[in-house]
């Protein structure tokens, strides 16, 4: 059977839920680059990022049954799996131990930015650079480093309510910039 080169998102989801190989093949070819970029923005090391990407696609294949179309697009679902896997990797002991032997990349704010400088200025991160310093820091900590609002409040010494509203404001600015 000749694999299809184009699927509608709906077709793709149905086939993936049936564990269709061609559909998964297409999914990888179509989305791996975009997800790899996201992972690279969180995990600085390219080999580790590749490992995370592998883990992410295996999980997508295994967890596709839990994907609920009413809650958002397929890409959004995969994006969140990728982001969570990357954050988990960065926080894992093995990764931290490994990083200690390497020079730490410092952000302009003096806070360790988690991204690889090579991919720093693409995608969401590029959009981030247009935000003001404070908002950028908040988005970096919450989105790219996966800290909870409580943790950020403690880290920066700002009240929790302020953290929540500032992140919301920062993030709603993203919408206008992304278009």
């Amino acid at each position: 059977m000749e694999p299809k080169t184009k699927y509608s998102e709906q077709e793709l989801v149905v086939l993936l839920k049936e564990q269709n190989n061609d559909a998964f093949n297409y999914l990888y070819d179509h989305y791996s680059g975009a997800l790899f970029t996201i992972i690279n923005q969180i995990v600085s090391d390219k080999d580790t990022a590749s490992d995370v990407l592998q883990e992410v696609f295996v999980n997508i294949w295994r967890k596709i049954g839990t994907y609920d179309v009413t809650k958002g697009r397929l890409f959004t679902w995969m994006l969140n799996i990728a982001r969570n896997a990357a954050i988990d990797k960065v926080r894992s002991k093995g990764y931290r131990d490994n990083q200690r032997t390497q020079p730490i990349a410092e952000g302009e704010s003096g806070m360790a930015m988690s991204s690889n400088p090579v991919v720093n200025d693409v995608g969401l991160k590029k959009v981030l650079t247009t935000l003001n310093e404070e908002y950028r820091k908040l988005i970096d900590l919450s989105y790219f480093q996966g800290f909870t609002h409580e943790e950020i409040a403690k880290m920066l010494g700002i009240p929790l309510g302020t953290v929540k509203t500032r992140i919301r404001t920062a993030i709603s600015q993203l919408r206008t910039m992304i278009r």
Partner: protein, 261 residues
């Protein structure tokens, strides 16, 4: 809730980017179902993010794809250890979702049953009431008919209309009941009137009214009339509605003589 304020609060972007707490996420999903404009805002941001990410795609090393395909096809079992760390969270969240769905379904089902039971109960109550009323009425009839002190006076029809009725007359309490058997319906300005009649000493009849009543065809009703202690006969006449004068004996419909006295 002001949906416009909610949409512009940054909640849409936070939801899509996975930055909401479980509670906030649940609320957002509920609102999405209720407010199409919220879902439209979500869709728009999702598409924008996707477009942005696709434009900035960086191809991963070529060997990654092979590794993935061999992992999912050739060694599905050996990879279980890797999955285990993720499974519990998934199971928990789908468990929560399942419980939320189940509790909603349970709520709807119990609501439905409560509503059905309420209706059934109301219907049963209504039929019970009407049955009770019928039983009461029948008991009353039965009591009247079986009472040894009650005398039955059959009214004999005096006209071709064959108006027939029976009088149940309680000699101790003086209660008078009229059982209508067949009394033709009258024009609306006319009523039947029941009379008790006493034969006067000089041969004059002394009628006294026991009440006016209406009767339609096919009606079998027991009416409680005015009490009377002494009567030689009962008579039913047709009178004008609300008659207060004496009997119009030309319109005598039926008459019955009492055996007592």
């Amino acid at each position: 809730m002001n949906i416009k304020e909610y949409i512009s609060s940054g909640v849409v972007e936070s939801y899509v980017l996975g930055l909401l707490t479980a509670q906030e996420r649940f609320e957002f999903e509920q609102y999405c179902e209720a407010y199409p404009e919220l879902k439209a805002a979500r869709d728009a941001f999702e598409l924008a993010i996707e477009k942005q990410a696709m434009e900035n795609a960086v191809p991963p090393p070529i060997n990654v794809k092979e590794k993935i395909f061999s992992a999912i096809q050739q060694k599905p079992a050996s990879n279980l250890s890797k999955i285990v760390s993720i499974e519990p969270t998934i199971r928990r969240s789908s468990g929560l979702r399942w419980m939320a769905a189940a509790s909603i379904i349970l709520f709807l089902v119990t609501g439905y049953f409560a509503y059905t039971l309420y209706n059934q109960n109301r219907d049963l109550n209504n039929s019970l009431k009407s049955l009770e009323a019928k039983v009461d009425q029948m008991e009353e009839y039965q009591k009247i008919m079986s009472d040894p002190n009650i005398a039955v006076v059959n009214m004999v029809a005096m006209t071709p209309a064959k108006a027939s009725a029976s009088i149940y007359w309680d000699s101790t309490s003086s209660d008078v009941y009229l059982l209508i058997k067949n009394m033709p319906q009258l024009p609306s300005d006319k009523q039947y009137q029941l009379w008790s009649i006493i034969n006067g000493q000089n041969g004059q009849l002394q009628p006294s009214s026991l009440g006016l009543f209406d009767a339609g065809e096919n009606q079998k009703v027991i009416l409680k009339m005015s009490n009377v202690k002494k009567a030689d006969a009962f008579a039913i006449t047709i009178e004008k509605r609300g008659n207060t004068e004496g009997p119009n004996l030309e319109q005598l419909q039926s008459m019955g003589k009492t055996k007592i006295q």
